[in-house]
């Protein structure tokens, strides 16, 4: 269980200070698929960064079970990410001078996962594993970044607009793959999106507006990637 209590996060100083997250509190159950939905500037990506330990909040508490994230030192936080967290970004952030296979190895080695070849195969990149990111299409690059995140065998997977830079066809297939994996592996998944249709695939939908949680909805019958509009 991830417990978030009274999180406040601001950027800038004095008159330029902008509070992005205003006293956010929520709980995320183990194995849940949560979508954080909001318009641009609502604070959803900042919430994801803070909850995943990429950024520190100004105040408040984040706990993963018994472990309090906000009290960890930088190196402890790095270690925590190494053992627990996987990331998928909409801009992929692959290492440009490494092949697809080596990019996946980047995540696999942290979890001592020698069988990362299976994941490459599962995301359908066996044929292209020796290609560099610049030789791959957007969808293929995103699949590499998914494989990299999964090769770490994360307990929690954070995704920031994972289909944001993809066309409908590729977007649907990538989303479908993520949803299937979530069902199979049963990890906790937190996805940020501005697309209300994508939110319909989640168990829990958190709607954000101007740095505050506006609504939390439980979705009893999540749709598949091919059932939603785009």
């Amino acid at each position: 269980m991830i417990k978030i209590e009274n999180i406040v996060k601001s950027y800038g100083e004095k008159e330029n200070k902008q509070t992005i997250l205003k006293n956010i509190s929520l709980e995320i159950k183990d194995g849940d698929l949560v979508v954080i939905l909001g318009a641009s500037g609502s604070g959803k990506s900042t919430l994801l960064n803070v909850v995943s330990g990429l950024e520190r909040p100004d105040s408040g508490k984040i706990s993963y079970g018994e472990k309090e994230l906000t009290s960890l030192s930088d190196s402890e936080l790095t270690d925590f990410r190494k053992n627990n967290i996987g990331f998928i970004f909409h801009q992929y952030y692959l290492l440009p001078n490494m092949t697809a296979e080596k990019n996946v190895k980047m995540g696999a080695e942290l979890a001592n996962n020698k069988d990362y070849g299976e994941i490459i195969e599962a995301v359908g990149l066996e044929e292209k594993k020796r290609k560099y990111p610049s030789e791959l299409s957007g969808g293929e690059q995103q699949r590499v970044s998914i494989a990299r995140a999964l090769a770490k065998k994360p307990k929690v997977l954070f995704m920031d607009e994972p289909t944001g830079a993809l066309d409908e066809k590729t977007g649907r297939s990538v989303l479908d793959y993520i949803l299937r994996l979530h069902k199979e592996k049963n990890f906790t998944a937190v996805m940020v999106t501005h697309n209300a249709n994508i939110a319909e695939t989640a168990n829990t939908i958190i709607k954000m507006q101007s740095g505050e949680i506006w609504e939390i909805l439980s979705n009893e019958s999540p749709k598949t990637a091919y059932e939603i509009g785009w």
């Binding site: 990429l54 950024e55 952030y93 920031d160």
Partner: protein
């Protein structure tokens, strides 16, 4: 346009090198040209021998330090322009997409020549401040008649105007070549990566290496100019420092101090520029490694680890180079003296080598520590461009 005076001023390293090069070259070459004016006044044989020796020394020192600094400046300039184009890829791509030709954009790069001009002109005129003392030292035995200091226009043209024009032209030409990339690659900031074919053989051998080892190799391979810079910085440190020890015995204290100063400036500037570029060029990689959970120590090893052996190879080559060069120089400079003067013996200076090696190891590790600090501070959010 995208390039302004500010960008040229950022090339402080090149300006410092131009300053040193022109300062040293003008000191020795101006002296040599002024010597020519009194050549007809030389009557005794010992005067002619001394004249030849002093002239030869001047030529060797000017070409050695000037040439070395000039070469470094060219490498640094090319390196900087490459980095500039890489980091301003989007802006340059937009200009090209709007219809600006490669030549029109490249022409803007002439402004980089200003850094050379600034360094050269300051170096040129400040050398005149030291000249009275230098002339006196060079002829302190009074073997030659009094040598007066003259302004030699040809040196001004050769040492200030010509390098400034050449560097401005070189900047435009190099930028022109580097801009010959598809607009889409510039806009999307897609790096140039040489695609190599995989064979069963190299796949097998690479399967053994860890990810960090492979990343270290890939980082080295993708930045060959940087490898050269690091090796060159170590080469300069090693050769110049060891040479300054020997110069104290072979020539004069003044030579020794001059060579020492040039060595320090050259190696520090190149090493610093090189390492700070490694950090900026690999910012995203470092941030991504940290996101995934790699420790600072692992990031440091992967990004900088490969440069350490290169640095020591540069040091070793510099040691051999200075030994061979001084051996040749002693033979050339003192060849005409015959038995009139005691020809100094030159042998490999173990003491100087050990001192320089320790100093180098210390300097290298200090710079690396500084870099580790930078990595520690490297914000993870650097990769989170979508952060709201």
């Amino acid at each position: 346009m995208v390039i302004g005076i500010k960008n040229s001023l950022k090339l402080a390293g090149i300006a410092i090198m131009s300053f040193c090069a022109v300062f040293v070259c003008n000191l020795f070459l101006n002296f040599n040209l002024d010597l020519v004016r009194i050549e007809s006044e030389l009557t005794a044989e010992y005067q002619t021998i001394f004249y030849d020796a002093v002239t030869a020394t001047g030529k060797v020192v000017a070409s050695l330090s000037g040439g070395c600094l000039l070469l470094t400046s060219v490498v640094m300039l090319i390196f900087y322009i490459k980095q500039y184009i890489h980091s301003h890829s989007k802006e340059l791509g937009i200009l090209k997409a709007l219809g600006y030709s490669n030549l029109k954009i490249a022409k803007e790069f002439w402004i980089f020549g200003i850094s050379v001009f600034m360094g050269a002109i300051i170096g040129y005129f400040s050398s005149f401040l030291l000249m009275p003392m230098f002339y006196e030292k060079q002829n302190q035995e009074g073997i030659l008649p009094e040598i007066s200091i003259n302004f030699n226009l040809i040196l001004f043209l050769l040492l200030v105007i010509l390098p400034s024009i050449t560097f401005a032209f070189l900047s435009v030409a190099f930028a022109f070549v580097k801009l010959k990339r598809p607009v889409i690659k510039l806009l999307k900031e897609i790096p140039d990566i040489k695609i190599k074919k995989f064979t069963d053989k190299n796949t097998r051998s690479k399967k053994e290496a860890s990810f960090l080892t492979e990343l270290r190799k890939a980082t080295l391979k993708s930045k060959k100019t940087l490898v050269f810079l690091i090796a060159f910085a170590s080469f300069c440190f090693s050769s110049m420092m060891q040479m300054s020890f020997s110069m104290d015995e072979l020539a004069s204290e003044m030579f020794a101090v001059m060579i020492f100063m040039i060595g320090v400036v050259l190696s520090f500037t190149t090493l610093f520029l090189g390492i700070s570029t490694v950090i900026s060029a690999n910012g995203k990689t470092i941030a991504m490694l940290k996101v995934e959970g790699y420790s600072t120590g692992q990031c440091e090893k992967a990004i900088f680890g490969g440069y350490r052996p290169i640095a020591y190879i540069g040091f070793a080559i510099g040691t051999a180079y200075q030994y061979v060069l001084l051996k040749i120089m002693v033979e050339v400079v003192f060849a005409d003296f015959g038995e009139t003067v005691d020809i100094p013996e030159y042998g490999f200076d173990i003491k100087a080598f050990i001192i320089c090696l320790i100093a180098f190891a210390l300097l290298y590790e200090i710079v690396m520590r500084y870099c580790s600090g930078k990595i520690r501070k490297c914000p993870i959010k650097q990769v989170m461009e979508s952060g709201e």
